[in-house]
């Protein structure tokens, strides 16, 4: 038995996961954002302790957290205002102190990608790209069953691929022209507000699109196409077997995905497109905590190998 934890900007979820990746019990709490990093870590630890009381001991705990997480050192390298005080936090160390159990930490999207690759939409696939379209654009790569982390330990993001160089829209990262500035939920809201003068959320824009409003339809379609074109360029380099899509924007509306597939079709070379399928996430809400539990399992196996070597 393992425990997986999903730390996000609005909620923290924890679950007991069995060896086959099934979630046996799941609990969650609101993220105490206004009370700072220590309160968030304590809340996560309390959820785990609650599960331990219900289900007995586990061998390790895995955590998928928002922000740039260095799996190797267990430190949150960067995080935005959704998780105040998380930047520089030695998350693994703090949780191991509180729980007295081995803990593995990883970025939430990378954890979700590992879960989808091993147990979800990417089963049997050697190279998988996970793309999450929510407020921002998250991404992760799984190559040969392993989460790709690059030289910095935090590679695999997709939001800062270039869409419109130089004169492009401002991205929250401070650069111009990143795809996140065109295709994220935040971008959809901002572009709609700029065009209409009305600031409404993506679900409402999606409803207006369903009701036939031209502007709403155009904004959603252009956002999806922009991401598809950009992914098409990346597919020409990476040639993955599967692109797995998830995130809030795809859940609330129906124009984004076909527009994305159109853009992908436009830009991807035929040989790359033929060997690549586009799928939806299967594990959805549990993907992060299942993936985190898989990383916890790796950590106990590393530990066992370490002991065997001693």
């Amino acid at each position: 038995m393992l425990i997986g934890v999903d730390i996000g900007g609005t909620k923290i979820a924890a679950g007991v996961v069995d060896a086959d990746g099934r979630v046996l019990e799941r609990i969650q709490a609101s993220t105490p954002v206004t009370r700072g990093a220590e309160a968030i870590v304590t809340t996560a630890a309390e959820l785990v302790q609650g599960l331990l009381r219900l289900h007995g001991p586990v061998s390790a705990v895995g955590v998928g957290s928002a922000g740039q997480v260095d799996h190797e050192s267990g430190i949150v390298v960067d995080a935005n205002e959704n998780l105040p005080g998380f930047r520089g936090l030695p998350l693994r160390e703090r949780l191991e102190e509180l729980l007295q159990l081995p803990v593995a930490v990883e970025n939430d999207v990378k954890a979700a990608a590992l879960a989808e690759a091993q147990l979800g939409a990417g089963r049997g696939v050697r190279q998988m790209l996970l793309v999450m379209v929510g407020t921002g654009i998250g991404g992760a790569l799984v190559l040969d069953g392993k989460v790709y982390r690059g030289a910095s330990g935090v590679a695999g993001e997709l939001g800062h691929l270039l869409f419109r160089p130089e004169q492009g829209r401002l991205c929250p990262c401070g650069r111009r022209g990143c795809i996140e500035g065109y295709a994220s939920g935040r971008a959809i809201m901002e572009i709609y507000a700029e065009e209409s003068g009305r600031s409404i959320d993506v679900a409402t824009i999606a409803k207006r699109a369903r009701d036939g409003e031209t502007l709403a339809r155009e904004v959603l379609t252009q956002a999806g196409r922009a991401l598809g074109l950009t992914l098409g360029g990346l597919v020409n380099t990476l040639g993955p077997e599967a692109i797995v899509l998830g995130g809030g924007v795809l859940q609330v509306e129906e124009l984004y995905l076909p527009a994305l597939e159109y853009g992908l079709q436009m830009q991807a070379l035929p040989v790359m497109r033929r060997s690549c399928t586009v799928r939806r996430m299967e594990l959805v809400h549990d993907a992060v905590l299942i993936g985190a539990s898989l990383l916890a399992k790796e950590r106990t196996e590393d530990g066992r190998r370490g002991q065997a070597a001693d």
Copy 2:
């Protein structure tokens, strides 16, 4: 001892390479383009036979060829008019028949990348991106010491990353806005010709730039910056430890590389840029044949493992 062969659109080179990747002897011939695929294959085989007469037997032959080459099947999946008749050619099978030796085949840029990763500018680096700026833009990825081939077997190209979506320049691949349409040697010539009405080669444009001509300087600088911006976006996803640059354009002029580094600096996230160095190729003219010999070595080792298993 191994033999490496480099099959390009203008010349075919072959060399005897020792176990440490040193080229002991190198011979070359013009590619008999007008006489078709069979003549090209025969010329390559004759060069190898010439080396065998001079140096005695070798255990295997490796070939790096222009075009999309499927290493697994040994077939040239696609090739342009530089190598007429190569599309669909079972290159490995044909050469093994002619030479009666084990042959490994791979795309030339991938072979060069393997050589640079093991013995050149990418020594000691886990993730390396090779970018070749010649008539077109070639690219290859080496991850954990292995050439990355993706699901299709021919992934790793960089020329069809998106630079200007939808209304962009036409790329030789038939799409619009690929970076190859902005930053390759061919693009530099075409853009210069469009602006000036004069069709001159890149070396002459480079000379004019050195002499202070504004248009020549602008065309070269914008091409380099376009590639740098695009690679910056890719670096944000792949976070490689090194970008290794080579190819004819970088050899003849001096504005492209600093402009590329400027673009990269603009678009890459600080955490990715910090862990990534930009280097020039070290093996230059011999990179393809050295890399091909490394693949030949792999092939003999696979063979030996196969025998040991029998």
